[in-house]
């Protein structure tokens, strides 16, 4: 357990020493969200309708952007092999890597999304549900994405390949995440969508660290 905390602390510390990487992801999200009103026009009713989908797709692409580097640096300097050889279960170490990735590239998006939602003229309730759905949904993206990142480790053209591999698997999260906000707007209530998101989080949190550890073993064999 202490290995988990120290690895998490190390990853966060490394990222804080080089804040540009995290900030790139955050500003990518902001810029993508700002492009949509310019493309579809400034009508407030249209923007309000588009907002959940646009912000969710933006968050999804932003977290995909950072996935590429999840194991890259550790792989290059040999740290990853040491982790594999160490007595600590690899699954536990993978949990720490995924948690660090989410804190760095998921949490900022959750905090920023309500602010961007204001630009799309979302109501107060909708902003809350949007933030909540991202809070539950972005860890799922990190969990599933980590498997893809481990599989494409060290391959040429890994970034595009990773997107091709992982984006189809993100679909349920996107459907229920954006659906939660839309259901609220339609007057249906968002509890059902949020519950399914939570179920997805539990499932992926349970199985993906194990699958990711397997993928790392395959990649480094």
């Amino acid at each position: 357990m202490s290995a988990l905390w120290s690895l998490l602390r190390r990853d966060l510390l490394l990222a804080l020493r080089r804040p540009s990487e995290v900030l790139t992801v955050v500003f990518f999200f902001v810029v993508v969200a700002a492009l949509f009103p310019l493309a579809v026009g400034p009508e407030r009713a249209t923007l309000r309708m588009l907002a959940p989908g646009v912000l969710w797709v933006g968050a999804l692409l932003a977290s995909l952007l950072a996935l590429n580097r999840l194991f890259e640096a550790d792989h290059r300097d040999g740290t990853l092999e040491q982790m594999l050889l160490s007595g600590t279960p690899l699954t536990l170490l993978v949990v720490a890597k995924i948690a660090a990735h989410w804190v760095l590239c998921g949490l900022p998006l959750v905090l920023l999304a309500p602010l961007l939602g204001v630009l799309f003229d979302l109501s107060g309730d909708a902003l809350g549900v949007l933030a909540l759905s991202l809070l539950i949904g972005t860890p799922v993206l990190s969990c599933i994405g980590a498997i893809g990142a481990a599989l494409t480790l060290g391959l040429r053209g890994g970034g595009v390949l990773l997107a091709l591999l992982v984006l189809p698997l993100f679909v349920p999260v996107l459907v229920f995440g954006a659906g939660a906000v839309e259901a609220l707007a339609a007057g249906l209530g968002s509890e059902a969508h949020l519950s399914i998101l939570m179920a997805l989080l539990l499932l992926s949190g349970l199985f993906s660290p194990w699958a990711c550890a397997q993928a790392l073993r395959i990649a480094l064999e």
């Binding site: 498997i147 599989l151 040429r156 053209g157 390949l161 091709l164 698997l169 699958a211 397997q214």
Partner: protein, 251 residues
């Protein structure tokens, strides 16, 4: 009765011979079944009371949709075998299945669009079953892209196996999505628990076509696995002894 030695055929060398014997009769059988199925489907089966002649696309659409899902499950099955028993042949079978699965998924989407235009008035609707079939197609493409990007065949096999297993979670969602989401797509017309809601001849046509797709898949997968074996074992002695590789050698 003598026990069949399954593991005997897990060796690429012996499987190569077995596949060589089997693939041609299977391909001919698939052709015969497809011709019979099309004859029943297009000539014998009556015109549908509600859908007119347009319904006949189901004789292609339903079998290829079934196969696109079954092939993914087969890929995941061989993926498990590949990861658990570290069998080289399982990885090759998995990779040999993928292009055929992708082809069937694409055909399913295409024939679905041809059926949807006269029936729903649109080539495409964002209904749960169509969407999940599209995602299945993307999963096949991702699998093929990953396995072809990895140079080392052993890593390619095992990485592909893991992707197939992770993606297989999607296949049941496709099948049960009709029940989960209430959508435009009509419910399943063939069910194991109740009598089918279609004429006997229609059912026969569809079953013949489904069998044709099964046998075709077997034939093409055996053929493709043979090519993969030759490619990977090209430095092995037994490959050099094959008459089709080295015509100078007497069999």
């Amino acid at each position: 009765m003598r026990r069949i030695a399954w593991t005997h055929y897990a060796a690429p060398q012996t499987f190569y011979g077995l596949a060589g014997v089997c693939w041609k009769p299977l391909a001919l059988l698939a052709l015969a079944l497809a011709l019979a199925g099309m004859w029943v489907g297009f000539m014998v089966a009556p015109t549908d009371a509600q859908q007119g002649e347009g319904y006949r696309i189901i004789f292609v659409h339903v079998p290829v949709s079934w196969m696109s899902m079954i092939i993914y499950l087969a890929m995941a099955f061989w993926g498990v075998v590949c990861l658990v028993f570290r069998a080289r042949l399982a990885g090759m079978l998995s990779q040999a299945l993928a292009p055929t699965g992708a082809l069937f998924a694409f055909l399913s989407l295409w024939t679905g669009a041809l059926w949807g235009k006269p029936m729903w008035g649109a080539w495409w609707v964002w209904d749960a079953r169509l969407t999940s079939e599209l995602i299945l197609f993307f999963l096949y493409i991702g699998f093929i892209a990953l396995t072809s990007a990895i140079q080392d065949p052993r890593r390619a096999d095992r990485a592909g196996a893991l992707v197939a297993i992770v993606g297989a979670v999607n296949v049941p969602i496709i099948y049960f999505s009709v029940k989960w989401w209430n959508t435009l797509h009509q419910g399943a017309s063939v069910s194991l628990t109740r009598a089918p809601s279609m004429a006997q001849t229609m059912l026969w046509g569809m079953l013949l076509m489904a069998l044709a797709c099964w046998v075709y898949t077997l034939a093409i997968v055996l053929y493709r696995t043979r090519s993969l074996i030759l490619q990977r074992e090209r430095h092995a002695d037994w490959v050099a002894q094959l008459p089709e590789v080295n015509p100078g050698v007497r069999p």
